[in-house]
């Protein structure tokens, strides 16, 4: 294994450097299950700097998904402070979160989550649509993103006409088309055979090499080994 976390995952509290992309400071997320409160994340602190390639690793039930939702601004912490690109998310309403998400994060999901019956081009262009980019710019940028991922000849194909690996590469193109500060990948190889999975990981490493910050969430230590730094989660806590 390379890149085993040598530095402590938790940064010193009260020092959220303004230039960090992700800064979690004693973050808690508690699910209220009627009478019982289930803590999914318990006092997690970490920071990710621009240009890093970080893997968050842990078995199922370790709080990975909650972590992903919080980092991805799909959910808010119940305690502690989370800053994304310097913005504390607790201050934002749903629309503010949506705007922050749209500007800062590109998502890659395990199950690709492409829009059905929609061409690769329109799928990749969708985030730009919500940023108010003009149609011609959308087409140009989405085409460029697809070409960068080697899908230049597939831009008019619908998801059902593409292989799993190709679909995931469309999803990666969609994640990077907005030139986000952070690409957040949730088990990006989970639905792929080993060959396609290795292919997608190579794409992510390449993106990182050309400057993208990548946070990868996975249960698979082998996939995690692609990352320069690994953060291990267990029972809602950072263990290493």
């Amino acid at each position: 294994m390379t890149g085993v976390a040598s530095d402590p995952a938790g940064e010193p509290a009260g020092d959220p450097a303004a230039d960090a992309i992700i800064s979690l400071d004693h973050v808690r997320r508690v699910y209220d299950m009627g009478h019982v409160e289930v803590p999914a994340l318990d006092d997690v602190s970490l920071r990710v700097d621009p240009g890093e390639f970080v893997a968050i690793v842990g078995p199922s039930g370790s709080g990975k998904t909650t972590m992903m939702n919080i980092i991805g601004c799909l959910d808010r912490p119940t305690g502690g402070v989370y800053r994304l690109a310097g913005t504390p998310v607790a201050d934002l309403d749903d629309d503010g979160l949506a705007r922050l998400r749209s500007r800062t994060i590109g998502f890659v999901f395990q199950s690709y989550n492409l829009l059905p019956r929609t061409s690769a081009l329109d799928n990749v262009a969708t985030p730009l649509l919500y940023q108010g980019v003009s149609r011609s710019d959308r087409t140009a940028r989405a085409t460029a993103a697809l070409e960068r991922l080697g899908l230049g000849d597939r831009i008019h194909h619908e998801p059902t006409e593409l292989s799993g690996g190709q679909q995931q590469r469309v999803a990666v193109a969609r994640a990077l088309v907005t030139e986000p500060a952070l690409i957040l990948a949730d088990e990006p190889t989970g639905n792929l055979d080993s060959h396609s999975g290795a292919d997608v990981m190579a794409v992510l490493r390449e993106l990182n090499a050309s400057g993208s910050t990548i946070v990868l969430i996975t249960h698979d230590p082998e996939v995690a080994s692609s990352a320069a730094r690994q953060i291990h989660l267990r029972d809602g806590r950072v263990v290493s």
Partner: protein, 394 residues
């Protein structure tokens, strides 16, 4: 997102589920089409009834005996006295009877009307060929006849037959004129009659000097009710009626009938439109139903869109525009169908086709309203979905 982008999204969505879109629109199409068609039928009926009634004579007062002929005291002298009242344009007393008319070997049974030269003015007839009765023919009780258009056709007489002799009730008459046709008013053909001087009828066909009706045309429509009052007072006086006695005659105002008839048909139009708009509401519920199903089916799509940056209002707008597109497209198709149907009905019923922009505007507004009312709720459901739950929805 601009409206154009939203429309583009909606259209591409409708294209991917054409059958469903068509069936959903069908409800609105039927609703709008029936509103347009029924309102147009109602308007056609109204205008047809109004035209026919005004063809009977405008500014017309008809005086007739109340009950039966035994108490009838209306006389030619009454008519002469009425003519002396102010703002009276013409007075045409009438006696009619049914007789057989012969021209050569062709015979027909028709109404013979005895009247005065004022008759065309009062009853709104025009002479097509020849001339009408004159004061001279009236004074001399000449056996001359003016034919209604239908009667002339039945007898095989045309423009060249002015001056020819016919037999009316066994007596020879000279044809001096033929009237312009008025067109059938349904219950009684106004073009099927023979007009002769009133004295001739009294002399040869109907005994007594009472008249069946007196038609009065009032020179100014604003004077209708004044004229009615004046005539009533005059006739009560002439018939020696005590002030408490009920009148033995009726003064009937044509415009009142007209007003009553149009108010009835207008109510009918409203009623028809109301019934039709129920189907429009049902169509709207169809849209709401399909949009709710669609929100459920596309939960994951909504989650994806939210994850890549859509705000609640973007999703709301997307679903609302989809519902509006369905209802507006349905509305436009419905208008076309409704106009075609009303043109066909107008053709069959013979009142022609009247295009009413107001109805079309109302139908468009109504279908838009249906889209908004029945589209907002599903769209709000979609907009409120939590992205995490939506993304995980299978």
């Amino acid at each position: 997102m601009s409206l154009l982008e939203l429309l583009r999204l909606a259209m591409s969505r409708l294209r991917t589920s054409r059958m469903r879109a068509a069936l959903t629109m069908l409800g609105v199409i039927i609703g709008v089409a029936s509103v347009v068609a029924l309102v147009s039928v109602g308007q056609g009926t109204t205008s047809s009834i109004t035209t026919r009634l005004s063809a009977l004579g405008t500014n017309l007062l008809t005086i007739s005996p109340t009950n039966n002929t035994t108490t009838n005291k209306l006389s030619l002298d009454d008519a002469t006295a009425i003519a002396a009242l102010p703002s009276i344009g013409g007075v045409a007393p009438e006696i009619s009877t049914s007789l057989t008319v012969l021209a050569g070997t062709t015979s027909t049974s028709t109404t013979v009307v005895g009247t005065t030269p004022a008759y065309p003015t009062v009853r709104a007839y025009d002479v097509w060929q020849g001339s009408f009765l004159t004061d001279a023919s009236l004074a001399g009780n000449l056996r001359v006849a003016v034919l209604g258009a239908t009667t002339a056709a039945n007898l095989g007489l045309g423009a060249s037959d002015i001056g020819t002799r016919i037999s009316v009730g066994g007596l020879p008459f000279q044809v001096i004129g033929i009237l312009q046709p008025k067109g059938g008013s349904g219950f009684q053909n106004p073009d099927d009659m023979v007009i002769v001087p009133i004295g001739v009828v009294q002399k040869y066909f109907v005994s007594g000097d009472t008249v069946r009706t007196i038609g009065v045309s009032v020179s100014d429509p604003a004077e209708m009710s004044n004229a009615t009052t004046a005539i009533t007072a005059l006739l009560r006086d002439r018939h020696d009626l005590a002030s408490t006695a009920t009148a033995d005659f009726n003064v009937f105002d044509q415009t009142q009938l007209l007003a009553a008839a149009s108010s009835i048909t207008e109510t009918l139009t409203l009623l028809l439109g109301g019934i039709a708009s129920i189907s429009l509401i049902v169509g709207g519920i169809g849209i709401m139903n399909i949009m709710l199903v669609s929100v459920r089916e596309r939960t994951r799509e909504i989650g994806i869109r939210k994850a890549v940056g859509a705000r609640g209002r973007d999703i709301l707008a997307q679903f609302l525009v989809e519902a509006l597109t369905l209802s507006l497209l349905g509305g436009l198709i419905g208008i076309v169908v409704g106009l075609v149907v009303s043109a066909l009905i107008g053709q069959l019923a013979g009142w022609g086709f009247t295009f009413s922009p107001a109805t079309v505007a109302v139908a468009v507004a109504f279908s838009l309203a249906v889209g908004v009312v029945f589209g907002v709720w599903p769209a709000r459901q979609a907009a409120r979905l939590d992205p995490i739950t939506a993304l995980r929805y299978e």
